[in-house]
Assembly symmetry: C2
Homo-oligomer: 264 residues x 2
């Protein structure tokens, strides 16, 4: 049975533009659905900020999206997923999906030792490690704070990228079989990471998350296969700058609205 | 004649911890003065954000400091100095000092071609270049977005720092005689920059700014040589994280208060 809420858009949020990789996968998996994408570009990045602060930001943004009217919320940010997800999911009136569980599930389908790279806050939260440990898996984890600025500068195919990636991954154990790219920016560095760690399966949470969201909405009667496929973007920073950066990352952002922090 | 306001503290602000290099130079030049240091750690960094947004942040923080009661404001952030300074100085009721003019004045004391490195927003604002051009100087300018995260991760003496510095400075003209370190974080990279650009005079705005502030306060009768030398810190992010990061950069932050963004 289809819920009367099925025609509402899906809310997606991230600290900035990184979550656009998740939005792209969602649109591919859910053609026809409408989306509200929220990028907190005035307060980006989240990955170097403390958990309590990121949790506060996640609450504010979720409240904003709910007031706009959404049928589900996708936390398209690994840092926010790591520190805020169980609380949000338990308290909000709509289904909430993060990027952590789908990535962990994908990693568990690969035998052997799992690696995790992410922001400082994501890795220090221990959320991925705890989940993998519960499944009896040994985990190697490493924060890579320079990856996000590297990608946002468009340097992901440059020699600098190779050196920085090699620096962070030089202590990776020889027997790693899978590596979770635990930050939405990291998929841009996939070719370089694959060069540095040949034979390791790289897990990009965007696609696996999109599949989990599609199945979840279907099960709750919340799918809208016949919508217009419209995306409206909300940013706390400058809309023009957001458009430029989104374009650099391969996403055309049409309708972009500025949200004042005081409105959150 | 000494003004009755002379016993008030001096307000100093930055996007985060970078301005602590300026605070340190100010305390050395002005022993006995009290300071309020404001680090906007919930919204850091400013250097990749658009001018209008940084200007708004600078206004909000200046208003906060004035309400707390300060006799002068030092904008210890090159990005905010580049985009907000003339407006702030023209509109506030207390003297306002930035880091741009003192650095330009120091560069002009060196003959020959001047270079500028800074954040994306600082370099794109063209504020330094316009000021140097008015003095008839040729300028080479380059934004270095990875330098701040590099320093904040404590990697300034690492091999990665050498590679990243070499990447950004590889196109520097051979005849450069001075280079303005146009971001408060960059002085930590001085040894590596000096290796890559031997013989180029590196201009650190902290010390020259402290001298200009000391002379300015003296001239206005606002010096307080007999205060307690107390520093109170205000941050928009987490006080504990701020203390850790400040320590990593060599500053002990004793009294730290959390300010909610809604209070600004």
């Amino acid at each position: 049975m289809t819920s009367p809420d099925a025609t509402l858009p899906i809310g997606v949020f991230d600290s900035g533009v990184g979550g656009l990789t998740v939005l792209r996968a969602l649109r591919a998996a859910l053609p026809g659905e409408d989306f509200l994408y929220f990028g907190d570009t005035a307060r980006v990045p989240y990955g170097s900020k403390p958990p309590a602060l990121v949790r506060q930001f996640a609450w504010e943004i979720s409240g904003f999206l709910l007031r706009k009217g959404v049928k589900a919320i996708v936390v398209a940010c690994n840092t926010a997923s790591s520190v805020a997800l169980p609380d949000l999911a338990a308290s909000l009136s709509v289904p909430v999906y993060g990027v952590l569980e789908p990535a962990v599930a994908a990693a568990l389908r690969v035998e052997g030792r799992v690696g995790l790279i992410g922001t400082e806050t994501t890795v220090q939260s221990g959320a991925y490690q705890a989940r993998l440990a519960r499944a009896g898996r040994a985990v190697w984890a490493r924060p890579c704070p320079l990856f996000v600025p590297l990608v946002e500068e468009g340097l992901w195919e440059d020699g600098v990228a190779r050196l920085v990636v090699a620096h962070y991954l030089k202590d990776a154990p020889k027997d790693l079989s899978a590596l979770i790219l635990g930050c939405t920016h990291y998929p841009y560095l996939k070719p370089v990471i694959a060069e540095v760690l040949p034979g390791v399966q790289l897990i990009d949470s965007a696609e696996v998350t999109a599949r989990v969201v599609a199945e979840g909405l279907e099960a709750r009667g919340l799918r809208n296969p016949e919508g217009a496929g419209r995306v409206v973007h909300f940013v706390t920073g400058d809309p023009g700058t957001y458009r430029v950066l989104a374009n650099r990352l391969g996403e055309a952002a049409g309708e972009v609205h500025k949200v004042e922090l005081g409105e959150l």
